[in-house]
């Protein structure tokens, strides 16, 4: 096994799926020679040629719309939107068509495409390069929304997304791209879409998170353990939609308390759905209100203030302590 960054792990997934299946086409702005602005597609054009790795003109609606056509034809396009903040240009293509084609044709046509986009803050970027708007996609019936949290699951989930017969929005946390390395085997690995994982076991409180917020949440859990003897169970959603509420409810049945942590702004975000699902499925386990520890309902501030915007281990641990003390 090799130690890989998330960028390298994603690259591996693409490379292996492309080698295995000539239906897989990588496309987007600067994905060719440049290897993508984050280098996720590095070297693919050299290996597979310009017909498999398609540099596109600068137009996000076209990238998505063209991919829909390719997918209907039977190919497996994997589009890269350079930053998730520019994916809104393709919103109507995804909502109006990708999400509905199977349903519209009663199973006749379907759209096995993946739309990858780097999301999230923490990398000192310009405006529009730091958003986390996964809730938009999650609220769109017919789309799946996946967010990995590390190199190994990123690779396995991307392979699953490519093989999925339906459209998958795949957000990659920029802050995790090169944050750490993990053993990622050369051998094929997949992970089922729609399944959360328990990243840390605990009995006192359930912390629910995903993507770039996993590391600070785990750090908070360690701190809670070290400082207060509180054992936090940490759940890494991995898939936002369909949401694996069973894993969440099971954990809550054990802990009775929960907080959801995400960097997206709070209102009408993923945290709200997590709370609502637990309200529906685990109300009688609840010993305290579920807390939302999230980005604020502002625009992500320019980078000198990002650290105050983003949930960090201190904030998470502090809020959890308060929650437990309050009861």
């Amino acid at each position: 096994m090799a130690k890989r960054t998330m960028v390298q792990a994603l690259n591996l997934a693409l490379r292996q799926e492309m080698a295995k299946d000539d239906r897989v086409i990588v496309m987007g702005e600067d994905v060719g020679l440049d290897g993508g602005v984050f280098r996720v597609t590095d070297g693919l054009v050299a290996q597979f040629g310009e017909q498999r790795v398609l540099d596109t003109p600068l137009a996000e609606s076209a990238i998505a719309g063209m991919a829909i056509g390719m997918a209907i034809y039977g190919l497996r396009p994997v589009c890269e939107i350079q930053f998730s903040g520019f994916a809104y240009h393709s919103f109507h293509q995804l909502e109006n068509h990708a999400a509905r084609m199977r349903w519209r044709t009663q199973g006749g046509l379907h759209v096995p495409m993946v739309l990858r986009a780097p999301y999230g803050a923490g990398v000192r970027a310009l405006e529009h390069h730091s958003e986390s708007r996964e809730a938009y996609w999650a609220h769109t019936p017919g789309l799946k929304m996946v967010i990995p949290s590390g190199p190994r699951n990123a690779r396995a989930l991307l392979v699953s997304a490519i093989r999925d017969p339906d459209p998958v929005i795949f957000y990659e946390a920029k802050a995790l791209y090169r944050a750490f390395r993990e053993e990622v085997p050369d051998e094929e690995e997949t992970l089922p879409i729609g399944q959360a994982r328990v990243a840390r076991e605990g009995r006192d409180v359930t912390l629910i998170t995903y993507g770039a917020m996993l590391p600070p949440t785990l750090e908070a859990a360690e701190r809670l353990h070290a400082e207060e003897g509180i054992e936090a169970e940490v759940i890494d959603l991995l898939t936002i939609s369909p949401l694996d509420d069973q894993t969440l409810a099971d954990s809550l049945a054990k802990t009775g308390r929960a907080a959801v942590v995400h960097e997206a702004q709070r209102s009408f975000g993923v945290g709200a759905e997590v709370v609502a699902r637990l309200m529906e499925r685990a109300f009688y386990s609840l010993e305290a209100p579920i807390a939302r520890i999230t980005g604020f309902d502002t625009i992500v501030p320019y980078f000198s203030r990002e650290k105050h915007y983003l949930p960090h281990a201190d904030r998470i641990a502090g809020r959890v302590k308060d929650m437990i003390k309050a009861v």
């Binding site: 137009a59 609606s61 719309g65 991919a67 034809y73 396009p77 349903w103 519209r104 046509l109």
Partner: protein
């Protein structure tokens, strides 16, 4: 250079073969087999009559809102006539004759237009995409299909349809540009009917033609009389041949007119004059093509009544079948089908929620 005019390398033409008065340019007249001419005529007439029937049914509340196509038949059928079964058609929503040419079922259309998802069902090997409501959005799918067809080294060509209003959408621009950059086998057919609901062409664009928009993409463009099936046929034939031969995409502007309301919810008297409509009625593509066939000796008056009768029967049979089918109980739970290949747990729970509600209601009904 110091300062000079640039004349871009244009490949831009206008064409009309059979004019509104029946005058025929025999040099340009395409050589179409009599049998094909009759098939085209049959489809055109079927479209006209079915459109009329749909309107009728809509007015009686027996189907829902729909966009009639009266006046457009030549503009889209003349183009679609070139499609092989292996080619792809990517329609907007006003291509009834082309859909019929491609084998669409009257019964399915009736069911669809009466608000049943069943009517939208397609087989997995369908090469005609479903109607696209969001204006212009389908053109990008056509680019993707054409790219894929080329990637697979097939000789398939894709043809996509859209209106004059659609040319204002960003998706039109992006589709034209991508198609040209990748030189995909694609024919863009614009049905310029001078109106986008109530917006006249001069409020849609400042250019005198839509065909010239091709120049922004380095693509050949052609403007043809869209009420003349022969002109459309010739222009589309050339574009198809170019596409099939690796010569890339073409934009064809078919100048036509919607002789009827935009949809059955629309009242065109609010925004356009009776005179204008009358003038265009005189250019109706159907009698024009029929006169051509008669002059050519391909179609006799007697045949025509037989064809009309046949069409009337076919439509009536479809209506009867469709209405019988719709009178059957139809499962409300169908809305949960086909959203994903595999239904997620939450959606399954919601499905059970509705199923339980229906059970209770049914029980209530039997009990009551």
């Amino acid at each position: 250079m110091p300062r000079k005019s640039i004349t871009p390398d244009t490949d831009l033409e206008q064409m009309s073969i059979l004019d509104a008065d029946g005058a025929l340019d025999t040099d340009l007249e395409p050589d179409i087999a009599a049998e094909t001419l009759l098939e085209l005529h049959h489809t055109m007439l079927l479209a006209r009559r079915f459109d009329e029937r749909l309107l009728n049914l809509q007015r009686q509340g027996r189907i829902g809102t729909f966009p009639p196509c009266k006046g457009h038949e030549a503009a889209h059928l003349g183009a679609a006539a070139h499609l092989r079964p292996t080619d792809w058609m990517v329609p907007s929503f006003r291509e009834l004759a082309a859909l019929l040419w491609r084998g669409a079922s009257l019964e399915q259309m009736l069911v669809f237009n009466n608000g049943f998802n069943e009517g939208g069902a397609l087989p997995p090997d369908a090469r005609t995409l479903p109607m696209a409501v969001p204006v212009g959005s389908q053109m990008l799918h056509a680019v993707g299909l054409a790219w894929a067809a080329q990637y697979r080294r097939t000789d398939e060509v894709v043809m996509t349809f859209f209106g004059d209003g659609a040319t204002s959408e960003g998706d039109f621009h992006e589709a034209m540009n991508f198609a040209a950059v990748y030189q995909v086998p694609l024919v863009f057919v614009c049905q310029n009917n001078h109106w986008a609901i109530s917006i006249p062409l001069h409020k849609q664009t400042r250019t005198p033609t839509l065909a010239q928009k091709a120049l922004a993409y380095g693509m050949p463009g052609m403007q043809v009389d869209g009420n003349d099936l022969l002109s459309v046929y010739v222009a589309a034939g050339e574009a198809m041949a170019r596409a099939r031969g690796g010569g890339g995409p073409t934009l064809i502007e078919c100048v036509t007119y919607r002789l009827i309301m935009h949809t059955t919810a629309d009242d065109p008297t609010k925004y356009r004059s009776e005179e204008e409509v009358k003038a265009w009625l005189a250019r109706d593509p159907l009698p024009r093509f029929q006169n051509y066939l008669k002059n050519k000796g391909v179609l006799a008056d007697a045949d025509l009544s037989a064809i009309e009768a046949d069409i009337e029967n076919r439509i009536q049979a479809a209506v009867t079948r469709a209405e019988a089918r719709m009178a059957q109980p139809h499962d409300p739970l169908l809305m949960f089908e086909h959203l994903h290949a595999e239904r997620p747990a939450e959606l399954e729970r919601q499905r059970r929620e509705l199923a339980d509600e229906l059970d209770v209601a049914a029980k209530g009904a039997t009990d009551g």
